[in-house]
């Protein structure tokens, strides 16, 4: 047993000290009738060599974006991950530590989270940010739940229709079990809707299909009607686009995966969560604050804990009791490495590449426009052919194509795509006739 260092001889000595006849004796409190009387039906133990071989064989059955140029986005993006990230986050001090409950020996994690919170506030323009949540979808759901509870006389939630469908489904799950009413509508409908009973309005920025709305107009309407404005933002887009603070957001949440995390078949990712000061003490999750120790030395500590489940139990703001600390650290390192200039360059290169591909696809004459709205690094076009077949054709030529949606083919282009890849992608997509 590689990971069990207690020898047979140790065992005998230890049992003696415990005044137990055998290991079995220690388990005598477990009634016979619930005992498992056979070995677990699992494959026999593998040696390290066998394990690696087996896992490699599973990995080899997947076509990964190292070998295929990825034009798929829809909530997970193929950005470049700087080399320093894996080196730093695999340091055991970060990787194998628990939640920083003992601040005296957790200043590494606590300092990094404090920096993370600062960066998320910078990015979103919000006053405060928490230490992170499971992912963008669950962060959005939590923001809805808090908004719903923020008023005495209104509690409904509106989700704008072109929100990521899986985010919408997640919010629906969180809300329906708490009997919170929610509705879905277009932005156009929203701007005419009666918001008297509406506590919060959620808009994705840019939308699931890539559209960038005039958020000022939406924000003004929501605020005039006294509701809270929840913005679900792409963090890389925030490098270029107007800060949610400027158009009146109360909550800004989103998926932090683009900030240095691999796509990893869907996780682990990073839900960022920020808001204006008024909601600080209702925020879910961990929060790190600055303080001093008995010697006056600056230090960081988990704070505002009275909101949380281990104190408030069923009255807690949320049941969450972890954060995605290592992913938050990843984002912090990513934003430090790219920095003020590099982060903007990444965003601008995404814009340049996405517009190059967009124009290129339209020029082939095989695709129709679906929107006149501005976009960031993601857009839809309508092909004349079957999308699944088109993607299969492209796969044969080394590409992972876009997502099939009800508005057409959803394409994302990041800074990673080279001109050769984009030219070839456009050419192959244009030559396919179904």
């Amino acid at each position: 047993m590689r990971y069990i260092p207690v020898t047979d001889r140790d065992r005998q000595e230890m049992l003696k000290r415990c005044k137990a006849d055998s290991v079995e004796h220690l388990f005598s409190c477990i009634p016979e009738q619930v005992r498992l009387k056979r070995p677990l039906n699992l494959p026999p133990a593998k040696s390290e060599m066998e394990l690696i071989k087996y896992m490699q064989s599973l990995a080899a059955q997947n076509s990964n974006t190292g070998n295929y140029a990825c034009f798929l986005g829809a909530g997970a993006y193929d950005h470049y991950i700087p080399s320093v990230i894996s080196h730093l986050i695999s340091r055991q001090e970060f990787l194998t530590a628990y939640t920083p409950y003992q601040p005296e020996i957790s200043q590494g994690t606590l300092t990094a989270i404090f920096e993370y919170q600062t960066m998320i506030c910078e990015l979103t323009g919000m006053d405060v940010a928490n230490a992170s949540m499971y992912d963008g979808a669950s962060a959005l759901a939590e923001a809805c739940a808090i908004s719903s509870g923020a008023f005495r006389k209104r509690s409904d939630i509106i989700i704008v229709e072109d929100m990521h469908p899986e985010y919408r489904e997640t919010v629906e799950t969180y809300l329906k079990f708490r009997d919170i009413k929610y509705t879905s509508m277009t932005v156009k409908q929203l701007l005419e809707a009666d918001l008297t009973n509406v506590a919060g309005v959620c808009v994705q920025y840019p939308s699931f299909y890539g559209d960038i709305y005039d958020m000022q107009v939406i924000g003004d309407y929501v605020k005039q009607n006294g509701s809270l404005f929840i913005v679900c933002a792409n963090p890389v887009a925030l490098a270029l686009l107007k800060s949610p603070k400027d158009f009146g957001a109360d909550f800004v949440v989103g998926e932090g995966q683009p900030l240095g995390m691999p796509m990893g078949f869907g996780g682990p990712y990073l839900g960022f969560f920020a808001c204006v000061k008024e909601h600080m003490r209702k925020m879910p999750g961990r929060i790190v604050g600055k303080t001093t120790d008995v010697d006056g030395k600056t230090a960081y500590v988990l704070t505002l804990q009275a909101r949380e489940q281990h104190i408030r139990r069923e009255k807690a703001t949320s049941n969450i009791c972890s954060n995605q600390a290592l992913c938050a650290l990843t984002a912090t390192i990513y934003l430090s490495v790219t920095g003020k200039k590099g982060f903007k360059q990444v965003a601008q290169r995404c814009v340049d590449n996405a517009h190059y591909v967009y124009e290129g696809l339209l020029k082939t004459g095989k695709f129709e426009k679906t929107s006149d709205m501005p976009f960031f690094h993601e857009f839809t076009v309508k092909p004349k052919v079957n999308i699944a077949a088109l993607n299969r054709y492209l796969y044969g030529h080394g590409f992972i194509g876009g997502l099939e949606t009800d508005r057409g083919w959803l394409i994302a282009v990041t800074e990673k795509r080279t001109k050769e890849e984009m030219d070839e992608f456009i050419r192959r997509a244009g030559e396919f006739n179904g």
Binding site: R152, R281, Q305, A306, I311, R312, K315
Partner: protein, 122 residues
């Protein structure tokens, strides 16, 4: 001044009454860091949650000793929650109008409350 088994006090002054927590309660809570103040105009029944008090490691709810309407919350506590620790009987949480003053008779007098504390300690 009258007292509840949940360690609130209530004091009638003219047409209003003031509500706070007892010295025992503030000691149990430790350093108070935040008070989630009651909303004005709120109409509450005896036993309803009036507001919440947070210390570093605990949170406690304050219940209405009697039924009534909240007239004003002590805004001073927003910036200085420690006042409750410093002077629990001189620091009120909310000023209310009592619905039915006979409800006060259900509450304990100071002597009764001290006896109650002693019996609890046993």
């Amino acid at each position: 001044m009258r007292f509840t088994r949940d360690h609130e006090w209530i004091k009638k002054e003219g047409k209003y009454a003031y509500i706070g927590i007892t010295d025992y309660a503030q000691q149990q809570l430790g350093d108070i860091v935040y008070v989630e103040l009651a909303e004005e105009d709120l109409v509450l029944q005896q036993g309803d949650v009036l507001c919440a008090i947070e210390s570093v490691k605990t949170a406690a709810e304050v219940y209405m000793p009697v039924s009534g309407t909240v007239i004003e919350a002590n805004a001073e506590l927003e910036d200085a929650p420690e006042k409750i620790n410093e002077d629990p009987y001189g620091t009120y949480l909310a000023k209310i109008i009592i619905d039915d003053e006979t409800e006060l008779n259900d509450l304990m007098t100071e002597d009764e409350y001290n006896e109650f504390l002693e019996s609890e300690a046993e």
